[in-house]
Subunit: 340 residues, 2 copies
DNA sequence: CTGAAAGCGCTAACAG
DNA sequence: CTGTTAGCGCTTTCAG
């Protein structure tokens, strides 16, 4: 074990100890298969004995690649990204890539720009799982895959995209409610790409059933507070509402508060569906029926797309939409009193 | 704007364009103050015009420092870390340090060791805001500060520590309940360092009031499910309970479910206090009274301690305990029926 | 498979 | 303040 006095062992020390050349050590490090098992083992033994750790900095400088991909998420507060990240890493790790995560909110608070940070870090690629301010992505000269949202409204939307089908998800949620006999179903939306798709899915399902959509929250965000406000607006405008499709899980929780304030309960009086199937939805006390967008798979697929892009920079854009499913819990039930 | 064809501009190009020496550019980059304003501006202009981005890899290799600190958190699902991280960055950023975050759960899932990852990355220091498995921190040869927990049970617990005073926090929570007239107050705990301190605070407050502590969950974890289980155990063993001090906010939410299952409501029948004052506690639908450990300040203080340590590696260990406060919402109220 | 050699882009030390 | 000079530890040729 090296101490502060003995400088860290270098590739050269390893080579010497293993009785091989520096180049061979480098080959082993990079996982080449043109190395005989015997020598490979010798090198690995030497690495172990010396406590050698390759210097990423040196490797990056020499190879001009960092083997790091930047992952841009919206907000650490919204646990949606956790599974996405797990999926990403499950394929990035074996490929010897490291994920570096930054969130838009945090960076907004500290004044630094996350994309700038990634670029300064010289990441090899970017996974965009958020909607950065317009222009933020302009100077980006590395491959980019959009994960979890269908588009970004970028000037050059030729990027690879992997996402859950939000429109279908909202449609699923709405149909579930229709199947339970609900007719007066409202939707809580917010300004965001996925939000727009979810809204569209809701509207389509309603029209297909010959019903008039009722949407609130268009001008707001997608937080719990926004969900609360949108639900208040909905319930005040249409007190006869018997079911609510929320833009996401936290908005659904906001809606629950609005209902309770009005002396209503879910699902007895009003059914509520969330979206994302976040941990929140699974809490027993909430038991939210929610649309599962399979973000872990989205993450894995996004990583695969990224690796493919790194190999074939000029391949045509890859667009992949995963099919969502509905997780039914206790916040939805049959209409009780259709006339309320 | 450089294209793929033109290689990225280097410090040399900047120097040439600004009509100064390479060294001067390096000085400007590192924020030296021995540079005349005129030249500094010239350099900054050249940087801007060329779209120059310093290569971290080269800087790291040459200086043998990455200006990166690894932040080890427990679980991205528990939003406790978000404010901690914001606090950390608020002082790390101005000092030109970058935070690199990894969580124990994620890495456990993908099989990689986060500390190894940090070491491979050659971070300059580590912020430990989690309780890694014993032995995980053994090979660490960089400065380390423990944030948000009072100890780690390490062999060499000489590390710097910055944390909220969990014991005092739980004491605060318990006293709040006592002040409301509660006497039959139970505590939900779990295996964790902070958990042990919180438990101790609760027990001390109970004893001070001449009451017998009632604790459940010692064998479990600290998740929502664990909180639910512990609350069930508590309520079954002591149906007369009128108030619960939960180990953290998610456990409190689990307790809420256990109460409802038994036909009890908070705060009408049983008061519930959480800990961490996480976003969860603030949701209108939950409105959890919770202990605020001021994790943002903890983060900032931890970063300051780290910077100090980097400057003075041999200074005596720094231990700082921040005073928590109680955020009263709607999950606690006066005892209704002391005899239930 | 080996060994030599040439950098990658920057920092740091020093003499001007 | 400038300019020069060495490297930092690794990857990548390329000829053996």
């Amino acid at each position: 074990m090296p101490t502060d006095a003995n400088p860290r062992p270098t590739i050269y020390d390893v080579a010497q100890r293993a009785g091989v050349s520096k180049s061979l050590v480098s080959l082993v490090l990079r996982g080449s298969d043109h190395v005989s098992p015997a020598r490979r083992e010798a090198v690995e033994a030497a690495i172990e004995e010396l406590g050698y750790r390759p210097s990423r900095a040196a490797a990056a400088l020499a190879s001009q690649r960092t083997r790091t991909v930047g992952v841009l998420i919206d907000d650490f507060h919204n646990p949606w990204f956790v599974e996405l990240l797990a999926g990403l890493r499950s394929v990035l790790d074996p490929a010897r890539y490291t994920a570096s995560v930054a969130d838009l909110q945090l960076e907004a608070a500290t004044g630094s720009n996350p994309v700038e940070g990634f670029l300064a870090q010289h990441v090899d690629a970017l996974v965009v799982a958020a909607e950065p301010a317009p222009g933020t992505l302009d100077g980006v000269d590395v491959p980019m895959v959009v994960a979890g949202m269908r588009e970004l409204g970028l000037p050059d939307d030729g990027a690879d995209v992997v996402a859950g089908d939000d429109e279908l998800g909202a449609r699923l949620a709405t149909k579930h409610l229709l199947g339970l006999g609900h007719r007066r179903i409202g939707h809580l939306t917010g300004r965001s790409g996925p939000g727009a798709h979810r809204r569209r899915g809701y509207e389509a399902a309603m029209r297909d059933a010959g019903l008039e959509p009722a949407v609130t929250g268009e001008a707001g965000g997608t937080s719990e507070a926004d969900g609360y406000a949108a639900a208040c607006a909905l319930l005040d405008a249409r007190p006869e509402t018997t079911a609510i499709v929320a833009g996401n899980d936290v908005m659904a929780v906001g809606a629950l508060a609005a209902l309770r304030e009005r002396g209503l309960a879910a699902p007895a009086d009003v059914s509520v569906v969330g979206h994302d199937d976040s941990p929140l939805a699974a809490y027993r006390f909430l038991g939210l029926t929610s649309v599962d967008g399979h973000s872990r798979e989205v993450g894995a697929a996004a990583a695969r797309a990224l690796l493919a892009r790194l190999d074939h920079p000029d391949a045509p854009p890859h667009r992949e939409l995963l099919e969502p499913s509905l997780v039914v819990r206790h916040s939805t039930g049959p209409v009780r009193d259709a006339s309320r």
